[in-house]
Amino acid sequence: MNVAVPLLQVDAIEVAYHRVMTAVQGVSLQVGAGQLVALMGTNGAGKTTVLRAISGFLGLDDARVTAGSIRFMGESIENLAPHRVTALGIALVPERDKVFDNLTVAENLEAAATPRRADRAALLEMVHAQFPRLAQLAKREAGYLSGGERQMLAIGSALMCAPKLLLVDELSQGLAPLIVQELIHKLLALRDQLGLTILLVEQNARVALDAADHGYVIENGRIVLDGDAAKLGEHQDIREFYLGQGGAERKNYRDVKQYKRSRRWYG
């Protein structure tokens, strides 16, 4: 893959909530055009925060990127309003509240603003072709959708914004493994057919690393590991702590401390 000119370049950003709480610190990552990059980490590590920093905060979030820079296609986008970021070609599938519950499926797709350069009718046709289920459910209120249908609608309505870069937060949350597999394949297909670039946040490292080209691991608001997805899958700490494939013998307490120490090295 072509990593020489990254589509998205996040450089040592720091995000503070309510002006006092620093949630992530010195996070840098790169996403090359056409790549699928996975961002992994435990609960509260700061994955959502990174994605939201890229896609922009609202006044009511009371959050800011306080240091570092985010560049998308050469343009500086940190602390830009979300709708401007979307207009540039970045669409987010958020973790929670990903569809407008009281609007029907069709209205959900209709509500998304499409940049002038794109053709709405063609986009809608494409979304319906990718997710035929959405066409069947057009009249249904989004609040009544199942988890999988909801995720499809969320991805579909994000696609209505004609993005170049798709940010997906917690693809697998609350979904059956089979559906997750299906959605991952869908994302890969979308990438290949539409020339999309994808930054995927995942708790499930197995799923993420199988699909991704490149992976980042974030802990306590810092990137602690990164590398080629295949290589990352081989990494001792990842195998042990994210894939649950430790050695046969049980680890004792000192080794855990050892891990903590080694983790600090990466931070």
């Binding site: 922009g56 609202l58 987010l92 940049p115």
Partner: protein, 290 residues
């Protein structure tokens, strides 16, 4: 029969005003307590345009309507935009302050005397006799028609057009709406524009019917219970609320005491708040949000 007609006219007035409250609230979660004053401003706009285009009443009214819509957008852009992200309380207080400011400014500009824009336009508002013996003025008839028109137009706009759907989306989940590329400020400004436009139109019609002075703001305030009785986030509710409040008001004035006029809406409201605080059509969750 006359009572029924009176109820219909009053209900139309309340409904026309309260759709502004509902629209602004539903989209931006702000309660505009300056709505009565903004409505009055719309009517005074007609006084000005009437003196400019005395010969062409149509042009004068259209210009006044446009002026009202622009005022609404301006109010959002200059004042209320700074209040987003602040506590709900601060936003409401800002609209109260705006109301006071407008009241003073309007007296300064147009004086406190009663104005009759209809006469300025050479319209004499003939009385219409309805079958059944009821009578009402042409403008009252126009009010009822306008009410139906406005509600139909709003319904069409909110459910059938892209911007209307985007507006509903923004009202429901502003964060996701922004992430879907919707410019929230534009949507809010549009909502304010429409709300003040419908309010201004109502003000214009009332002013043509009954003359225009500072008491008009009270009508705006009395329409507010109608919006609340129906449930603040529902247009259908606003319509029903308007009918209920108007019915209660007309009947009580007729059979009990004319002095009750100013209190009835608030009595209905108090009863409602005790029995069903989220309103007829509002959702229960709404209570926790405000």
């Amino acid at each position: 029969m006359q009572l029924v007609v009176n109820i219909a006219v009053l209900a139309s007035i309340y409904a026309l005003i309260s759709c502004g409250y509902v629209l602004i609230y539903r989209v931006s979660r702000v309660l505009s307590l300056a709505h009565g004053e903004l409505m009055m401003l719309g009517a005074y706009g007609l006084v000005t345009t009437a003196s400019l285009f005395a010969a062409q009443p149509g042009v004068a009214v259209a210009a006044a309507g446009l002026l009202a819509a622009a005022t609404g957008a301006l109010v959002y852009w200059v004042l209320m935009r700074r209040m987003t992200g602040e506590a709900v309380l601060a936003a409401v207080l800002a609209t109260i302050a705006l109301g006071i400011l407008l009241r003073g400014a309007m007296v300064l500009i147009w004086s406190a005397q009663v104005q009759h824009p209809a006469r300025m336009l050479g319209f004499d508002n003939p009385v219409v006799a309805l079958p059944g013996g009821a009578r009402l003025s042409t403008i009252s008839l126009l009010l009822v028609g306008m009410n139906a028109l406005v509600y139909l137009a709003l319904w069409w706009f909110l459910t059938r057009t892209r911007y209307g759907i985007a507006m509903r989306a923004a009202g429901q989940n502003p964060r996701l709406a922004a992430q879907r590329g919707i410019n929230l400020h534009a949507v809010y400004a549009l909502a304010w524009g429409i709300a003040v436009f419908t309010g201004g139109l109502t003000g214009i019609l009332i002013a043509c019917d009954a003359g225009l002075d500072a008491t008009m703001a009270t009508i705006g305030l009395k329409a507010f219970p109608a919006a609340l009785v129906g449930g603040l986030d529902s247009l259908v509710g606003a319509l029903c609320g308007a009918v209920i409040v108007a019915t209660a008001e007309v009947l009580l004035i007729h059979y009990v005491d004319p002095l009750l006029s100013d209190v009835v809406p608030f009595l209905v409201l108090t009863a409602m708040l005790i029995v069903r605080p989220w309103g007829l059509f509002g959702s229960r969750e709404e209570l926790d949000r405000v």
